[in-house]
Amino acid sequence: MSGRHGIPKSRWLPAYVGLYLLFLYFPILLLPIFSFNNASTTTFPLAGFTTKWYASLWGNSAMLEAARNSLIVGISVAILSTILGICAARALTRYRFRGKKPATGLIMAPLFLPEIIVAVSLLMVLLQLGLELSLVTVILGQVIFCLPYAMSVLISGFDGFDRSLEEASLDLGETAIGTFRRVTLPVVAPAIVSSLLVSFTVSLDEFILAFFLSGTEPTLPVYIWGQLRFAAKLPGVLALGSLMLLISILLLTLSEIIRRRAEHRLRAQGAHHA
């Protein structure tokens, strides 16, 4: 069988893709399944439906405290990494300057480093500076970790931006700030929202940096790590995990929808101008 362009399409390829998706999704889908299972062990056959594991979360003050910490960290990290990401992404897509490659390399480096080494080196510096470990140190560290993700989203959003629009606005007498607000921002806003959502999601699930830098205030993953030692607490943890899974998927879907709408709009505008 031959596909478009004479590129071979074999019959086994779709089957392989199906198997691969099963491999990817099976472990993820197990979490919600067992979180509704009326037994404290995680084995088949299932023992009937219950929502008691979810109900038990509400009375759990340690968990709620950790959730509050995660929220504070997540929001701060999302805002900080997006602001820093905007500066860098705009500089990289708008201007030509020397040292672009090493600068990009440094900012993207956390993707290519073992996280434990980033965590350990930060821990040494922060303790040397005499800082107490707290949510602030977690935020400082996670921003480094989230920047590459924020940058990827922002660069792809800024890349299609037509610079002549800004020049036209400036030539017509608008100030630099006015130009940014009225011309640039509406075009790049979807990328900025995407970056906020993606950074928040990454922060929400980040464990290693939070584990090393959080001191006595755990975030949700650090709290979960502490619970994993107790087999009896597993179903409750699975319920919590399923909720976090749901939030992550919702945020990512939202970010994807915003990004795609913007893409369509830009394309439509381009077609209109042509």
């Binding site: 893709v17 300057f97 672009k100 992550s248």
Partner: protein, 307 residues
Amino acid sequence: MAVLPGIEVEHRPSDPPKSRTRWIASEEASGLALISPTLLYALALLFLPVLIVIAYSFWTQDYLTIDRTFTLENYRTALGEPIYQDLLVRSLVISLVVSLVTVTVSYPIAWFISFHGGVHKNLWLFLITVPCWTSYLLRVMSWKVILGYGGVMNTGLLSIGLIDKPLTTLLYNSNAVVITLVHSWAAFAILPIYVSLEKVDRSLIEAAHDLGDNKLMSFLRVTLPLSLPGVISAFLIVMIPTVGDYVTPKLVGGKDGVMIATAIQAQFGKGANWPLGAALSVTTMVVVSAIAGLVVLLLKLLVRVTK
């Protein structure tokens, strides 16, 4: 998903107007000024800390005081003690196996999306990336549930009669670590390969067919060499971070699956020997980079030979 880690982004600023001669100079200044907050942040909280780790690895610690005389003692321990040797070798082998397996099993998926994804390419990419955004801890935990003694795999195999008592060889060994890591890093391998496949000029493949190459030959001589940059990115983005993975070996590795991160963490916790922890970190980074570099060279060589 718009997040494509490990891919160099091409920047195409429009040509500067010819009349303004000092444009380049001012443009350079504006660019640097704009990137400086981010750059300073990364310098202060990433670059500087790594330098400090390197410095520490040459110092010694006596209880709470740091002795700043230069010494190679920590490296002697890191490279000479059998326990650290074992952990380092095991970590390297595991990360090498994980990265090679992940890249191999992911290539057909990237190929499928790029060549047969049609109008739904974005949806496919989204589907592939969603699992990698879910809690890392719980994903690992899920594998523990699947591979455990009373786990999903064993009960499944028992019920269809393939085995008559639960297998104990599924969990708490290196294989469990490899399976879990391959699952965790799938999207990170697919995305870079997909991006480089997207750049492959389809007419070149057609040309190869027209000139009489069969499917395999045209793949080996056209598609694979042209997608090599993506394969290399994928390989590096999986291999280097996995060597220092902490959670997976802790949860599913058991005694046989302990990796170097556990030893590093111990030096910053109860062991409290920062210089040794620093030396272990530096050693791991240097050795893993060297091996990754070697594999990249081999890949390039292999592709040149098959061409």
